[in-house]
Symmetry: D2
Subunit: 294 residues, 4 copies
C-alpha cells in the first residue's frame, strides 16, 4: 500500500520503518527537519509538506504529541483533511482526548473519508519490535481495513467500538493502571515495614485477590521481579511523565463527562508531585519512591 506517515519522533520513526520493512511504500513527514532527515536516511521517502505526504497515499497515519497538534495537522487549511480524498483511510495513533478524536473523525466523514483512532501501548520498545498493541475506534469495515496495515507494527489489534473508543480504552486502562501501581506501592511498602519479606508478600498477593498487573508483572519493589524496571533503577519502560500526561487527559475527560474519579485525581496529584520531585524521566513504577524514601 502507499502510506503517508506524519510524525516521525521516538514512536513514529520505528513504526514507519516497520511499515516499510513489511513492503509498504512509505512517505514520511515531520515539521522537525532533523527527524525528517533521519527517517530519510533510513529509507523513508521524504515528503515536503503535509499536503505532499497525503497526496497519492491510500492510507495516512499520524503519530502526534497532543490534541492541539492533531487538530492542527488535520484541520488546518493546508492540513490532512483539506487534501484527503474519498477512498483514503486515515489512522490517528496519537493518544488524545476522545472528544477531539470524535470531532476530527466526524469532519473526515463529512468529506467522505474514513478515519479510525488507534492509540498504542507498548512504548518505544514495542514500536521498534513491531509488537505494539493498537486500540482501535471506528466502523467495523474501517477497522478491518486498518488491521492489515497495523499488523506490520503491532501484534495485538483490538476493535473497541465506534469512533473515539480507542482513546477511551487507552486512557481508562491507564487510569486503572496508575491507581493499581500506587496501590501496589502502598501494599508492598507497608508489608515490608511491618516485617514481611517483599518477595514472599508479592507471591501471596499474586495468587490472591490483591493481584494485578502492577504486582505480578511489573512489581515496583526493587528485587521482587528480576526483569522489572524496579530491579534496574527504574530505567527504561513507560516514563512517569507520560503516565502523568495520560492521567491529566483522563481526569479532564472525566470532568467533561461529569464522572467523579476520586482515586484518579489522587493518582494525578501523586504523579505530579513525583514529577516535581525530579523523577519524571524514570519508569512510572518509580512512584514507589514516594513511599520507600520516607
Amino acid at each position: 500500500m502507499k502510506i503517508g506517515f506524519i510524525g516521525l519522533g521516538n514512536m513514529g520513526n520505528p513504526m514507519a520503518r516497520n511499515l516499510a520493512k513489511n513492503g509498504h511504500a512509505v512517505k514520511g513527514y515531520d515539521v522537525v527537519p532533523a527527524l525528517l532527515d533521519k527517517a530519510a536516511s533510513q529509507g523513508i521517502a521524504r515528503a515536503t509538506s503535509v499536503a505532499d505526504c497525503v497526496a497519492g497515499s491510500e492510507v495516512v497515519i499520524t503519530m502526534l504529541p497532543s490534541s492541539p497538534h492533531v487538530r492542527s495537522v488535520y484541520g488546518n487549511e493546508s492540513g490532512v483533511l483539506a487534501h484527503a480524498k474519498p477512498g483514503m483511510l486515515l489512522v490517528d495513533s496519537s493518544t488524545i482526548d476522545p472528544l477531539t478524536a470524535r470531532e476530527v473523525a466526524f469532519d473526515a466523514l463529512a468529506k467522505g473519508v474514513a478515519m479510525v483512532d488507534a492509540p498504542v501501548s507498548g512504548g518505544t520498545g514495542g514500536a521498534e519490535a513491531g509488537t505494539l498493541t493498537f486500540m482501535v475506534g471506528g466502523e467495523a469495515k474501517d477497522f478491518e481495513a486498518a488491521r492489515t496495515i497495523l499488523a506490520a507494527m503491532g501484534k495485538n489489534i483490538v476493535h473497541c467500538g465506534g469512533s473515539g473508543n480507542g482513546q477511551v480504552a487507552k486512557i481508562c486502562n491507564n487510569l486503572m493502571l496508575a491507581i493499581e501501581m500506587i496501590a501496589t506501592s502502598e501494599g508492598m511498602t507497608l508489608a515490608a515495614k511491618l516485617g514481611m519479606d517483599p518477595k514472599v508478600f508479592a507471591g501471596i498477593v499474586n495468587t490472591s485477590s490483591g493481584r494485578c498487573w502492577s504486582s505480578d508483572t511489573y512489581n515496583p519493589y526493587p528485587g521482587v521481579l528480576e526483569n522489572a524496571p524496579a530491579s534496574r533503577g527504574y530505567a527504561g519502560g513507560f516514563g512517569a511523565d507520560l503516565m502523568l500526561k495520560d492521567l491529566t487527559l483522563v481526569t479532564e475527560a472525566a470532568k467533561q463527562a461529569k464522572v467523579p474519579v476520586l482515586m484518579g485525581a489522587i493518582a494525578q496529584q501523586v504523579y505530579q508531585k513525583h514529577s516535581a520531585d525530579g523523577h519524571g524521566g524514570k519508569d512510572f513504577s518509580s512512584v514507589i519512591l514516594q513511599y520507600l524514601k520516607t
Copy 2:
C-alpha cells in the same frame, strides 16, 4: 487430634464442623449460648468455658471478631494462656492487627506454648466448602504442625514468615484489593459514560496492563461477569462492612508503622461513606454504586 475451638459464629461454626468431618475430636465454646447450642446440635462437643475448652486439647483454634476479643480470650486470668500447656499448638484465625498478634504469640512463647496467627480469606462460602485460604505467621515447625489441621478447613495454606505475618499478608492484600476495586469502579464507569460497551472495555483491560482480580474475576459492573455479585444485586460475597473493618485495621497499622497510605486512607473513607449510605451489608464490589448512581 483433640481440638478446642473458640468462637462459633458465621465463620467458626462451619470451620469447626469441617474439622469434625475430617475425624478430629472437636470441643467448642462461645460466649453466646445460642451459638453454642447450635454447634452442639451439629455434633460439636460443648465446652462450658474457655478453660474447659482448652483443657485436654492438643490444639486450640480461635475465630474472634477483633483485637480486644483476642486479647481478652487469650490474656484474661481465666483465658487460653492461663490454661495452655507446653506442647499445645494455638492457632488464632481472627483478622486482627499484627502488633496484637505478635504480643499474644510472645506471651504464649513465654509460657512455652507454640502459637501461629492464621487469618483466612474465602468468606462464609469458603468456610462451608472447606476451601479457605490460610495466611500463616509463625515458626516453620509450628506452621508445619498447623498445616495438617488447617487442611481440613482450607485448600490453600501459605507460610508468610514469622509471627504476625499472616495478619500482615491479609490486611496488606486487602488494602490493595479495596483500592483496586475502586479503581475498577472508576475505570468501568468512566469508560461506559464515555460511550464504550462495558464488556468490551473489560475484555481489553483484562488482557492489558490495567487488569486486576477486581476486573477479571469479580468485576463490579452489572452484567460483565455472569457469576460475580454485581450480576445478582451485590448479594452474598464479601460484605462492604467487612472490607471497611479491614481498611480500618490496615490504616491504623500504617499509622503505627509511620507509613503513608494515601490511597488506602481514601479507600477507607469511600467505604465509610458507602456504609453510611446504607450499603454495608452488600458485597464489597457494590462500592461502584458510589459512581454509577450519579
Copy 3:
C-alpha cells in the same frame, strides 16, 4: 467616559447598568439577541457587533463565560484587538486561566493598547448593588485608570500586581475557599454527630484557630447563621457549579505550573460528585449535604 461593554448576561447586564447610572455613555453588545434587547430596554445603547462596540469607545469591558470565549472575542479577525486603538483601555472581568489572560494582554500590548484583567467576586447580588470586589492585574498606571471606572460597579478594587495576577488572586482564593468550606462541613457534621450543639461548636471555632470565613460568615450547617444560605435551603448565593468551574480552572493552572494541590484536587472531585448528584444549582455551601445526608 465612552464605554463599550461586551457580554450582557447575569453579571454583565447589571454591571453595564451601574456604569450608565454613574454617568458613563455605555454601548453594549452580546451575541444573544434577547440579552441585547433586554439591555437596550434598560437604557444601554445597542451595538451591532464587537467592532461597532469597540469603535469610538475609550474603554472596553468584557464579561465572558470562559477562556475560549475571551480568546475568540479578543483575537478573532473581527475581534476587539482588530479594532482597538492605542489610548484605549481594555478591561476583561471574566474569570479565566491566568495564562490566557497574559497572552491576550500581551497581544494587546503588541498593538499599543493597555489591558488589565479584573475578575470579580460578589456574585449577581454584588453586581446589582454595585458592591463587587475587583481583583486587578496589570501595570500600575492602567490599574489607576481602570479604578475610577470600576468604582461605578464595585467598592473594593485591589491591585494584585502585573498582568494575569487578578486571575491568580481570584482562583487561588477560591481554591482555599472551597477546601475551607468542605473542612467546615466535616468539622460541623462530626461535632454534631459526636453530640455537640452546632451553634455552640461554631461559637468556639470562630474564636479559635479553626475559624475561617466559611465558619464565621457563611456557615454551611442549617440554623447556625440566620442569614447564611444554609438557613434558607441553600438558595441564592454562589452556585456550586460556579465553584466547580473555578476549581477546574485552578487545578488545571496547577498542572501547568507543576504544583501539587492534593486538597484542591479532592475538593474538585467532591464538588463534581455534588453536581452529579443534582445539587449544582444550589449555593456552594450545600456541599455539606454530602456529609449530613448520610
Copy 4:
C-alpha cells in the same frame, strides 16, 4: 483550694506552678521520678502515689498523654476513682477521644464524684504564661466550679456542653485547623508559582472569602507574617507531630461515629508523610514544605 495534680510534663509542670502561684495548695505526682523532682524543686508538694495525690485534695487535675494513660490513671485499682470521694471535682485536661472521656466521667458519676473534661489549646507557651484556652465538657455547675480554678492557668474558659464535649470541640477544631493550614499552603504556593507576591496575595485573601486563622494569623509562607513560625524556620509553636496525634484521634472518632471525613483523612496522611520525612518536631505550619520543596 487543695489541688492534686497528676502528670507533670511539659504542659503539666507550668500549669501546676501557675496554680501554686495563685495561692492554691498543690500536691503533684508523676510516674517519672525526674519530673517529680523537678516540680518539687519548684515548690510543688511531692505526692508518693496517685492515691496519695488524691487523698485530702478537693480538686484533682490530670494532664496525660493519651487515652490509655487516662483509663489507667483513673480506672486502676490504685487509681483516682478508687480513692476519690463525693464532693471532689475531677478535671482531666488531657486531649483524648470523647468516648473514653465520657466513659471515665460516667464511672466517676457512678461513685458520686463530679468530673469534667477540659482539654487545652495554647501549647507550652500558653501553659507558662497562664493564657491557655480550656474547652470544658460537663454539667453546668461543675463547669462553674472548675472555672475559678482553671482561671489560674488560662484566660479563655469555654463551656462546650455535656461530658466529653470539651474533647469534641478540641479535636473538631483541630480537624478544621489542619485542613485549613494545608489549604493555605496550597493556595500560597500556587499563587507564588503563578507569579504573585506572597504578601500581596495574603493581603487579598485575608480580606476575602478565603481568609482563615492559618492565613491571617499564622501564615505558613516564610516572610509573610513577621511573628509567625514560618519566619523563624518553623521553630517553636505547635509541633507537627502533635497535630498528627490530634488528626489520628479525630479520624478514629469519625470512624466510630461513622462520619466520613475525606479531607481529614487526607490531612492525616499529609502530616504522616511530613513526619516520616523528618519534620515532626517543627511547627505544624511547616507542612507547606511538602509543597515549597518541590
